[in-house]
Symmetry: C2
Subunit: 340 residues, 2 copies
């Protein structure tokens, strides 16, 4: 099987986005009507999926995508906690409907109702609902719900611990994923995303989170941000900070996806990062949708780069299926129940 660990519902029906727009209008001006979430037909969902993610999945020869709400529109910095709660619930329910329509192809990962300054404990109930009631297998955790102001505590702060305890209890991993940026310094997909990946890794390096949570698991997307390119710097910093080697200190608990959109980047990733820590991902349909004029193929068709590596059958299996089933045990359980 080929499982893409990183896909967002970036093509949701327009009525879904119109609700969000009206919701934020009401928040800004309570004299505006409080919108009711619209009826979205199965056909509207089918069309949005079949012409986009499902089509590309088939064209590119993958079998399954771990699917979550659009990352850039989680926008935890907009509205307040109750706005985030309502929006998040609708976004996750919509993912559950996609999964119900295509249970062989999509499996859910949830957005969380984070909000700046609000304790992450308030996100526990939605995680439990999504995992226990909707059958989701993980979550996307935003390390900066402020949208580019970074005024909350780092991930190693004890403020996050109640949520991490719940993740361990439910045996689900989190992908570290920021949302849109409201800071003019940071382009969302070109700077904020990549910076957040790098930042989270360095927080893990600087702290000792996995000493406290040996079973906690994170996926850092976008190929680990800047980390593999600067692997020597991080090995050296671990040494200077008197931490154990990275493979013991961080990489028992952290994996990177393959959302790196050119062959040299993928080559580097596989050269420096242990094969057990790499998960196939494309973020399709996502940040970069065009065709690379130097190859004639989509930038985000990351399977092509991986297939060019000449991996052994064993390593290939790890990257496309084995690692993701290990890190998302609830995905593995669902697949096994279906004999896959």
């Amino acid at each position: 099987m080929i499982i893409d660990c990183h896909g967002h519902y970036t093509t949701a029906p327009k009525a879904h986005d119109a609700f969000r727009e009206a919701q934020l209008k009401h928040f800004a001006d309570p004299s505006q009507p409080l919108p009711v979430y619209p009826a979205i037909s199965d056909d509207a969902i089918r069309e949005s999926i079949e012409t986009n993610q499902l089509r590309l999945l088939r064209e590119r020869g993958a079998d399954m995508t771990i699917f979550s709400p659009r990352a850039s529109t989680m926008a935890h910095h907009l509205g307040d906690e109750s706005v985030s709660q309502a929006w998040t619930r609708h976004c996750n329910d919509l993912i559950a409907r996609v999964v119900a329509l295509y249970p062989e192809t999509f499996i859910g990962v949830c957005q969380l109702p984070q909000s700046p300054g609000v304790t992450i404990e308030h996100s526990i109930a939605e995680l439990e609902r999504c995992v226990n009631e909707l059958g989701f297998v993980g979550c996307n955790l935003n390390p900066d719900p402020s949208g580019g102001h970074w005024n909350g505590p780092p991930l190693t702060d004890r403020a996050w611990y109640p949520f991490f305890e719940k993740m361990v209890e439910l045996d689900v991993p989190a992908m570290i994923h920021v949302s849109g940026s409201c800071n003019a310094n940071f382009h969302a997909t070109g700077a904020h995303y990549i910076n957040a990946d790098t930042t989270a890794f360095m927080q893990f390096l600087e702290g000792d989170l996995f000493g406290d949570f040996p079973d906690l698991r994170f996926v850092i997307p976008h190929g680990g941000g800047a980390v593999p390119y600067h692997w020597g710097r991080y090995r050296g910093l671990a040494d200077m900070l008197k931490k154990p080697p990275l493979n013991e200190h961080v990489m028992k608990n952290v994996s990177f996806d393959t959302c790196v959109y050119h062959q040299p980047g993928i080559d580097l990733l596989f050269r420096v990062i242990d094969i057990d820590n790499i998960l196939f991902g494309s973020e399709m349909v996502g940040a970069v949708r065009g065709i690379d004029p130097t190859t004639g193929h989509h930038f985000d068709d990351t399977r092509r780069y991986i297939d060019s590596l000449g991996l052994s059958a064993q390593d290939r299996h790890k990257v496309y299926e084995g690692n993701v089933r290990r890190i998302y045990p609830r995905l593995d359980a669902q697949l096994r129940a279906r004999g896959r």
Copy 2:
């Protein structure tokens, strides 16, 4: 010649740092004495340089370093504008003394008296002083003088333009270099530095700064942050944002140094970035001071990685000397005046 474009005076005599400490104490509590900058002997400077940068430069077979004040202690976020002005002047004067003692080996690049919320126009006088009076050949420009809050305008904002006009007039480049971080989310050398590099590049990509300033030149250090590793993403984003290809839109004006501390990273850098845009740099003695147990050599001995590439004589010359003389014409002029 082998010219290292990126070295900081991280080993300045203790009296220099003690002044800074007293200066900040006075700022926090004006009843504390306003310190007088101490007399620092030539011998104290010689010792600090000869046992560190000069020793390593010779051991590693380089000829010259473009030398600037310690980046992490520029700390534009501490004190206020007058504190930054005084500290900056002392830091730059100390660099001038190093250069005067070792004119064949060091050439100066200045720190700027930036301060959060203060217009960059107030840094013009110090740039002029350093270039016209001290013989410096460039400056380090902090894109985030807040130290990790990123609450100023992006580099493409017109607020920066008066300074860019002066850079063009003086024909000096700037290295984009943040300082220490006062944001607990960002480890200085492990996250803030690398994020700033990535952020600046994406600002240039998103804007059209070099349409307005075709002669403006920047060096993005630490191998360009995350950019070369994600070169496909950036090419794809330029396409999506309907910008010209990166080589036209950004890379006529932007170069990367080689402060990437392992062979696979350097290999990637040279594979994806045009040879004309790469400057030899080590940031020695800097962020990562240890010895890589996998090689037995210092992580930041970047010359070893470059020498392993098997570059042609012409390309080797570009990376070690030609590019830096082109981008820092005042360095070139000084070298020519000495027959080098």
